[in-house]
Amino acid sequence: MKTLQRFGYPIFFVSMALLPHLLNSRWQAVAITFLIFAIVALSQDIILGKSGMFNMGQALFFGIGAYTTAILNSVYGWPLLATIPLAILIPAIFGVILAGPIVHLRGDYLLVVTIGFNIVFVQVVQNNLGGITGGPNGIFGLDAMSFFGIQLASQISVYYFAFAVLLLTLWVMRNLEGSKAGRALHYLREDQLAAESIGINTRIYKIFAFALGAGIAGLAGTVFATQYAAVSPEAFDFIQSVLFFSIVIVGGSSVPGVLIGVFVMFVLPEIFREFATWRFFIFGFAMIAAMILRPRGIIPASFGKIPKFLIKDSNYGG
């Protein structure tokens, strides 16, 4: 892991920074998709991997962010980038409101309830509640990205926008790990009872994790709306949540693991287009095989500054 951190990350960041200049526009679009889904998967990792809450509705927050941007742009004429604060804040508030009554639920109950939230969201936007979500077709024809009047319509600028958001997400996650909140989340994931007994307010921290994960996913939603100039309900279907959930667990809740997961799930199908209909059939087998061969994920995360011998063997408490 040490070598990977010393050399792997700089090489990854530099090549990602140069990447769009080496690709044609189709592959630029694929690269942007990779970045967007990587951000969402990492935000899912904050809730599921780092805090141990079985959240299977991450596409909900992704969707709320994307719809916030789309509605503010199409109905109220806000520039896309100006919607960022609200596209973070509104999903985060939803995270607090929705997580509040349910965070005490045990794993599998939480999982089903979060699936439920996701399904309800899709139904709400499909039924065009309030007449602003565009119904089953969604909202399309959003403006191009601009910065104080300067048009940034090219795909390369969208790519760098997405890349900046990814870097921001990684920075937030790195700081989280070293912070009081991050340690608290780690302890409560490992052993909630012990965490409570040493005075950690588990409820507050769990809601905090939901709000943080939701806010980042919401920001990814803004990038999504910018890239496609459109949002539609099926992009935030709960099947997407299932994929994000699986990516985090198969990846082992570590940054490289999650990025590999996103690459395999969303970029490989673009490379092997002729296998499109076989995609999920093969992925299903791959998920089973990955879990049997490496039950703790492809690249299991190790927690920051805690000595190895203090880390309990099972990474996910029951």
Partner: protein, 298 residues
Amino acid sequence: MDTFFQQLANGLTIGSMFALVALGYTMVYGVMRLINFAHGDMVAASAFVGLTIYTQVMGQATSLIAVIAIFLLSAVAMAIVGVILERLAYRPLREAPRLSAVVSALGASLVIQNGIMLIWGPQMRIFPELVPQVYWDLGGVVISLIQVIILALSLILMVALYLFVEKTRMGAAIRASSIDQDAARLMGINVNSVIALIFIIGSSLGAVGGLFIGLYYRGITFNMGWQYGLYAFVAAIIGGIGNIPGAMLGGMMLGLFNAFIAGYVSSTWSDAFTFILLIAILIVRPTGILGERVAEKV
């Protein structure tokens, strides 16, 4: 009042299908503490297998014996799939972290769902009319023969399952394994066979549920398993996960609830209301109406 009784009849029909499928979830969860996400897709697969048996094996016959044979063969096929599924995807992960088994179950679900698509195609198929279209008009409330058969057969199966679990030695082994697997093993119960048995029973009940879905709704699609599976799992939670009478009660309640929402509000909001009901019940009774009965893995 006509709407009320009509939706009561519809709700009991849908509810008994939910209950049959929910039993598969709740029995597996009771012993293994695992949401068998592939169960819903096996229910869907059963409808397609039934369709193929009808066209290829039975030569499109709709005699009583042919119909019974379709049900039995589909149930046996799904029982075999269930045992293979447990052996390949779940048994190697019994000691692994919980979430690994969940992802394996999701993987199995994708495999079965897309397996159906690769074999039978992505388009909707029409399930054969195995039961004659007979309707009775009871003073404004229309009840079909299919509804009567679904309700009656489901009740018979559920009573039989209840008696099996409560009154037989094998049933006692199932109950013991869901209370404490290790203690059950120490008492000489072969937990592996109990789990295999649970997958046989759960999958064949699910298979019957899948054929009922085909008979009742007629249109079957490869991805319908998620929809019905999720509803059935919600039903199992509402009744109290791991609790066999709870799954029956939860299924019936959810079916009636859905029918009344469709009758009095709008069917376009049924998902939203279903999950609002689930959340409300979990807030009031966190372990479901009849309480959960599961082995607590520590």
